[in-house]
């Protein structure tokens, strides 16, 4: 069984399974907006890499809604 790790999601500490992928985090935190962008440790993650990008203890993940108004 995977052990749990502590990470920061949208600025708040969260406990998640070790080695969890970004795609699973999106499901877990119910981020339903398909237009969100993902920042992982200060780096933009392309959607093609959501399934292969995995988090480690202490990582920071932010789900961000980009802005397209003017």
């Amino acid at each position: 069984m995977d052990s749990a790790i502590r990470i920061i999601v949208n600025g708040f500490p969260e406990t998640v399974p070790d080695n969890i992928a970004i795609s699973q985090l999106i499901d877990r935190f119910n981020e339903g907006d398909t237009d969100l962008i993902v920042e992982h440790n200060g780096r933009f993650i392309y959607p093609d890499f959501y399934m292969t990008t995995r988090v480690s203890p202490g990582d920071r993940v932010e789900f961000i809604n980009p802005n397209f108004g003017g």
Binding site: D35, R43, F44, N65, P66, N67, F68, G70
Partner: protein
């Protein structure tokens, strides 16, 4: 050869005394041509700053007319301008601000079939649009004309800015290829587009002055509600349909 009149020297004195600008930098600004796409909340502010800084030629494009609901943020337009084309309203204000600036007003909606003609021989595309689809059109023009595209967007108390240089940095499409085009107009509080467009304007001036330190390969995020401002690193997207290797192969035959 570009020269500066005594009136221009007086007008631009406070920026010409900055080390790194001087007379040479002011002449670069005078020789520059900037395309401002959209004259709403963003384009109002970048229009003012481009004209005030002494950018020699502005091409300003917008197909809309001024409405009451524009006036909380679109500071180029005033109450008596209601109903007239935004380009006409903008032309009047920008000419009054700086008669040395040559302005070409283009009262047209920006589309894929007219964007190249609208941008013309501009050196830079400044984004002042209000939707993702038009930004993708501007981005394709940026890549095909090989000129920088300075993106800015707002929503509520939030803003986003990034500078894209074809061939050197990711492009707009790299980042937002999978984004849907939500058509509803978001709420916007006036100072947010002003902040975003001021940053875009500074980026345009830095490009014209050939300065380093551009907001490239990074996305600047502004969260006005608690004043968190941060940058995230953006790598190039190898799969990008606009600037990726497939596109380069197509361009090189």
């Amino acid at each position: 050869m570009t020269t500066l009149t005594s009136q221009e020297r007086l007008r631009y004195d406070r920026q010409m005394i900055i080390p790194g600008i001087g007379e040479a930098g002011q002449k670069k600004l005078k020789q520059a041509k900037v395309f401002i796409a959209g004259l709403g909340g963003l384009g109002s502010v970048s229009g003012y700053y481009m004209a005030a800084a002494g950018v020699g030629h502005l091409r300003i494009a917008d197909g809309d007319c001024v409405e009451f609901a524009n006036l909380n943020r679109q500071i180029l337009h005033h109450t008596p301008d209601i109903g007239i084309p935004k380009t006409e309203s903008a032309l009047k204000k920008l000419r009054a601000l700086n008669p040395f600036c040559v302005i070409t007003a283009l009262h047209e909606t920006i589309r894929i079939d007219n964007v190249i003609g609208l941008v013309g021989d501009s050196d830079i595309i400044l984004d002042g649009t209000d939707n993702i689809a038009t930004r993708k059109v501007l981005n394709s023009a940026s890549v095909s004309l090989d000129i920088p595209f300075i993106y800015g967007g707002v929503n509520g108390f939030n803003g986003t800015v990034s500078t894209f240089i074809p061939g050197k940095t990711p492009c707009f499409e790299c980042l937002f290829h999978q984004q849907s085009d939500k058509t509803q107009s978001p709420g916007v509080i006036g100072p947010l587009p002003a902040m975003v467009a001021a940053i875009q304007s500074l980026e345009a001036i830095k490009i014209i002055l050939e300065m380093d330190g551009l907001l490239t390969n990074r996305l600047l995020l502004i969260r006005g509600v608690d004043m968190v401002i941060k940058k995230i690193d953006v790598p190039k997207n190898p799969e990008c349909p606009i600037c990726g290797p497939d596109m380069e192969k197509r361009q090189n035959g």
